[in-house]
Symmetry: C3
Subunit: 264 residues, 3 copies
């Protein structure tokens, strides 16, 4: 198990599997609407993931429409994976609309490690204080200008005044005061394009009904990781893994979460 940063308490007070099951049940009741400004390769999987957990996705990237869609949604996802003209124009207005209407928004700074233009744009977005920043280790290193570790993730979360959810073989979540590590998931997740992007949409859905970003991110990652494990057992490879993952999310119950969640 990952050692938590020494200075940070574990969040022992939360029964994570119970909380994850409770929020998942809430999503299934509510047709929670998530508007996703996301990259071209992620749109279908993101929408299908949100539909599989009972949510209602919308995906427009048109600058003329983004404020209406963001205001109407319960949460906003901003993913930087495709930065075409329309998305560049829509992202700041989408964030502004979400904030003006008191809706949480979540940032996924895809490939900020690969392009200086994208890194700069991600930093501008972070000035709008997302509820959760979901990234991988390379993206974190580019953004935070330091290597990813439990301590550096907690430190940078405190600096940004947000929750950072760093996903990988083990997921780390911290808001600078609390820290948790999640040991669920399956290696085939890394062999399906946009899986991380779609999981960030799940974080946004959880954030729509749980305003504590730390709790929302940790429970969403538990749910995604448990569903991935179930899918991995049924799949013959990455092709069959993706539909099996959606099936598993759709059918996920509290007992499966309780039996499989590895979070501490």
């Amino acid at each position: 198990m990952t050692a938590a940063p020494a200075a940070l308490p574990r969040s022992a007070s939360i029964d994570w599997p119970d909380k994850a099951a409770e929020l998942l049940a809430g999503l299934r009741e509510g047709r929670t609407r998530v508007h996703a400004i996301t990259n071209a390769a992620a749109q279908v999987l993101t929408a299908n993931l949100l539909l599989a957990i009972g949510g209602a996705p919308s995906l427009t990237i048109s600058p003329d429409e983004i404020t209406a869609f963001a205001a109407r949604a319960d949460a906003l996802l901003v993913n930087l994976g495709t930065l075409d003209h329309d998305r560049r124009a829509s992202i700041p207005w989408g964030i502004a609309a979400a904030k003006a209407h008191g809706k949480p928004w979540v940032l996924d700074p895809v490939f900020v490690d690969a392009s200086p233009a994208r890194l700069e744009l991600a930093r501008l977005c972070l000035a709008g204080t997302p509820c959760v920043l979901r990234c991988n280790a390379s993206e974190f290193a580019a953004l935070a200008a330091r290597e990813a570790s439990p301590a550096s993730v907690a430190e940078h979360a405190a600096e940004l005044r947000t929750t950072i959810a760093l996903t990988g073989p083990v997921d780390w979540v911290s808001d600078g005061e609390r820290f948790v590590a999640i040991h669920n998931g399956h290696p085939l997740m890394a062999r399906v394009t946009a899986m991380g992007c779609a999981v960030t949409a799940l974080v946004a859905a959880f954030a729509a009904i749980e305003r504590d970003g730390f709790t929302a991110a940790a429970t969403a990652l538990v749910v995604a990781g448990v569903a991935a494990e179930i899918a991995g057992e049924a799949a013959a490879g990455p092709g069959s893994f993706a539909p099996a993952f959606l099936d598993a999310l759709h059918g996920l119950d509290a007992a499966q979460i309780g039996n499989r969640a590895r979070i501490a």
Copy 2:
């Protein structure tokens, strides 16, 4: 069963399962070409649905190319789900090219209930008199400025001089003079993104070989609904439903349609 509007005759003279099977067979022979100006989340499923029934899809949204592609196709689909710069510029020229070459076109006014800009654009498109308008109840209510019912659907179809195909748990189709209700389909259709958009492409394919929009829409919805029922029996959730739906469409035969069609 839905009551038809009192003033409108049922179309008892058509043997719907036979007609649906006949048109499906025609599509499989002919490599019918449908050009789809459709939203980013719908492009893959739309193309795969058209390929599954033996058609030939094209998807370009480039304003420089749209007239060549629309003129070359047997039918045009216009879906408003993504309204970026290129699609906005291409839609009116695509419609003009389809009309100039005597090809039917079908409108899918996605999310007109969510954005005033989109509602206005949909109304401008409707001035070009599509062969079929396919929408859901919310989109119909926004467009027609009245609640959806068999009577209001028939009434608005007469006003627009088109066929309206309103899909939902029960599908209603009317051209203002005739009315039919289709009780096929499966709840998982609503848990797969762009399923409605893809079904509108099927309507366009049927319209390419059956110029009576009312007959084309009703038979296409029967075919989609029966395939969805077959897929629903094989699927473990929304992830496996989507490929099973394409498999079912690809293999659909007259006996399956005859045994399952519930249209009156």
Copy 3:
């Protein structure tokens, strides 16, 4: 079996199944990065195919970022299937960056037979001498201004000083000096959108580690064809074929290639 052009030697000196298995093994070790400027309908399948064989895809089409992404990749794919504003601006810079950094690039001139604008753009791209040109018979006929045959493919490859890989029920590969025909594959490949586009990305991945474009194209097409045959045996239709194809690619081993490859 296809007769090779009389004037061209078969490449009897290469043990094709062994070479294909060797290159596939190399790709699985190396996380070979392919940047794909590809059409909207192909992005997801292309990325998933590259991930399934152990590669690392990137997909940005932003003109601001294309040179950074192309320089960072091991090979570049240029697919003309969607020609929006961003892709038009990015394609020449992507090609220039690939060439400047000594990285191979591969061209897929989708639908050049359908649009004069696209044909002109494809010819401009060809002036940048791709490592491989992958096309179908209709696209070849438009580009080469002659019908496709083993002799005309070899002839035009010599004129272009590239390798042409013409795919169809039988695939032909020639660099103008050598010629090979591949009799693998499955009819369902033609019923899944963007399958040809995704296979071109596989050619690009092979070209990244095998600089002889003729060898790279021939082995990539053998691998794709064998995986398609395995998938076709497991699939119930085009919907289940696509994930089965990715599963088969992911699990493909030297024995399967050796037993099934039909190349001469």
